[in-house]
Amino acid sequence: MAKRQPGSKMPSRPKAPVNGAGSDRPIRLHFVIPSDFAQSRRVQDSIFAAVAEKNWPEDDIFGLRMAMEEAMVNAIKHGNQLNPGKSVTVDATVTAAGVEVSILDQGPGFDRSSVPDPTLEENLLKPSGRGILMIESYTDRAKWTEAGRRLTLTKARQVSGSHAG
């Protein structure tokens, strides 16, 4: 199911460890899975492994975990309505500088602007409706396209130290 695609042509050195500190050759991952949480977990683990391979700090991986979990649950549960006959397609590009993940479901789509703000006083007691807030809080950009069926997340790795004031 999971196919790992090399970023570009490279002499064949199968399974050679990538030197994260050296060249920043993107790691590209592509998955098509049914609406299944266990398979979603494996997809996420592969992406986090790629991010770790690029030497991302734990703090950034934590944020990505938070956003990815919510995004995948949304695709499987709210998008595909847990229908095992429907699939979720995930594409990820990971570099030392940033990650972009696209998640496409086969549901009816939705309008982001119609989702109420869960932090408003009147919504604080509601048990659901916080997933999108988490996705947006833990990424630099979250964009829904294709009538809300595709979510594209981007997150840059935090640069610590260098130019901090």
Partner: protein
């Protein structure tokens, strides 16, 4: 999921039911609903339950887990009980702050402070 252990570990300090979590991640939907049911069975068999959730083992939780906590809080308040949360790691505290649920739950830094807080109004 080969072995099935309880998602929570219960202990008692006077009339306070202290709950610890047996895993580091509260993200799996099935697991979250198991925790919700385990908490509900404690809440529903106690008059005016005093429940303390100790988060010291938890380093990851999802919005579904927050929903489960909100439901548990509602059940406790319905029975005139009290819920306290304690020892939440900084990155998990951030989740409560982002969602503004830190305003809704009574959260204390240590277990001792949380236990003491039950006798305050």
């Amino acid at each position: 999921m080969s072995e099935h252990t309880s998602p929570i570990k219960l202990s008692t300090d006077k009339d306070i039911r202290i709950v610890e979590f047996t895993v580091h991640k509260i993200i799996d939907e099935t697991f979250i609903s198991e925790i919700g049911q385990a908490l509900a069975s404690v809440i529903e068999t106690t008059a005016a339950p005093k429940m303390l959730l100790d988060f010291s083992t938890v380093d990851h939780l999802s919005s579904a887990a927050l929903g489960m906590l909100i439901n548990a809080n509602r059940k406790i308040l319905d029975r005139n009980g009290k819920l306290r949360l304690c020892t939440i790691k900084p990155e998990i505290m951030e989740v409560f702050v982002i969602t503004k649920l830190n305003k809704m739950f009574k959260i204390l830094p240590t277990r001792a402070e949380a236990v003491a807080s039950f006798s305050q109004t």
